[in-house]
C-alpha cells in the first residue's frame, strides 16, 4: 500500500466506513510508515475532539432543548383539543347550511320559469264550452296522440 492510498483509507477509517480487511492492511502500512501513522493519529484526535465538542454544546443547549420540547408537547395537546372542537363543528356545520338551502327551495321552487321542457302524460282533454266575442274559434282534434287545439281566428285581423 502506498502513502496516497493510506491517506484515503485513514479518512475512510475516521468516517467509520473502512472494512476490517482494509483496516488490517492500513495498520500494516502505519506500522512501517511514521508519516502516515502521524496523520492517522491526528485524524483520530480530531474526531474525538469534535465528538467532545458536540457533547459540550449539547450539554449547553440541554435546558433550551427541554424548554422547546415542553412547548412542542403543549402545542400537540392544544392541537388535539382544537381538533376535538373542530370535529364537533364539522358534525353540525351542515345543519344551518341545509336549513338555509331548504328555505330558499321552499321560496323559489314553484315560481321559476326555467324549468324542464314539457313532457305531457296525456292529451285526453274535454272541452265543455267555447265562445268568443271578437274571434272565430275552431276546435281541432287530430287524434289521441296529438294535443287538442283550440284555434282562435281573430276576425278583425283576418
Amino acid at each position: 500500500m502506498d502513502c496516497r492510498a493510506a491517506l484515503m483509507e485513514i479518512a475512510a477509517k475516521a468516517d467509520g466506513i473502512l472494512s476490517r480487511e482494509a483496516e488490517a492492511g492500513l495498520a500494516a502500512h502505519l506500522a512501517v510508515c511514521p508519516a502516515c501513522a502521524a496523520e492517522d493519529a491526528a485524524t483520530s484526535a480530531t474526531g474525538s475532539a469534535l465528538r467532545a465538542l458536540a457533547g459540550i454544546r449539547a450539554m449547553e443547549k440541554a435546558p433550551s432543548l427541554d424548554a422547546m420540547w415542553t412547548r412542542v408537547r403543549a402545542g400537540i395537546g392544544e392541537g388535539r383539543e382544537e381538533r376535538r372542537h373542530a370535529s364537533w363543528i364539522a358534525r353540525w356545520a351542515w345543519l344551518p347550511a341545509a336549513v338555509t338551502l331548504a328555505v330558499l327551495a321552499l321560496l323559489f321552487y314553484p315560481a321559476g320559469t326555467d324549468r324542464s321542457p314539457f313532457h305531457p302524460s296525456t292529451f285526453d282533454v274535454s272541452v265543455e264550452d267555447v265562445e268568443s266575442d271578437s274571434a272565430t274559434v275552431a276546435l281541432v282534434d287530430k287524434g289521441e296522440d296529438l294535443p287538442r287545439v283550440i284555434w282562435i281566428i281573430e276576425d278583425a285581423k283576418t
Partner: protein, 154 residues
C-alpha cells in the same frame, strides 16, 4: 393551524336532508286541493327553421300539426291555484289569460280559461283534463306569426 375537513362527514347527511326538504316542497301542490297551471307561450312562424329545445317532447307534435317552420318559446309561467281562485298570466302582445280551477273529481282538472287582448275577449272556455294533461290554444297573431299557448295542469 389544522383545518377541519367538512366534506367527508358533513356532505352526505346535508345532501339527504336537502333532498328530503325538496321532496317536501314538491308534495303540497299534489296533496292539497290545488291545481298547478303551467302556461308556455310559443311563437310559431316561418322565419327560419329552428325549434326551441325548451318545447321538450311536443316539438315533433307541433311540427306534425302545424305548417310553421320555426317554434320559439317566449315565456313560461306557472301558478298554483286553489279551486275557485283565479290566476292571471301575462302573455306576449299585451294579452292576458285568466285561469280558474273548478271543482272536479278524481285525477281530473277542470279549468275555466279566459284570454283577452285589452278590452277584447278572444276566448272563454271550460276544459277538463287529467292531471299532467295538456291542451294547446293557438291563433292570436304575433309579429309575423302566431302565438301558441301550451297549457298544462298538474
Amino acid at each position: 393551524m389544522p383545518r377541519p375537513d367538512l366534506r367527508g362527514r358533513a356532505g352526505a347527511p346535508a345532501l339527504f336532508f336537502l333532498l328530503f326538504l325538496l321532496l317536501l316542497a314538491a308534495i303540497p301542490s299534489e296533496a292539497a286541493n290545488t291545481v298547478t297551471v303551467d302556461v308556455g307561450a310559443a311563437y310559431a312562424s316561418n322565419e327560419g327553421t329552428s325549434i326551441d329545445p325548451a318545447l321538450g317532447t311536443i316539438r315533433g307534435k307541433l311540427r306534425s300539426m302545424f305548417n310553421y317552420t320555426s317554434y320559439r318559446m317566449l315565456d313560461r309561467k306557472r301558478r298554483t291555484l286553489s279551486v275557485g281562485e283565479t290566476g292571471e298570466f301575462e302573455l306576449p302582445g299585451r294579452r292576458t289569460m285568466r285561469a280558474t280551477p273548478l271543482p272536479a273529481r278524481g285525477d281530473k282538472v277542470r279549468l275555466s280559461i279566459q284570454i283577452s287582448e285589452g278590452p277584447r275577449n278572444l276566448l272563454t272556455t271550460t276544459i277538463g283534463l287529467r292531471r299532467g294533461g295538456m291542451v294547446l290554444v293557438g291563433g292570436p297573431t304575433h309579429l309575423s306569426g302566431v302565438l301558441i299557448l301550451i297549457i298544462s295542469a298538474e
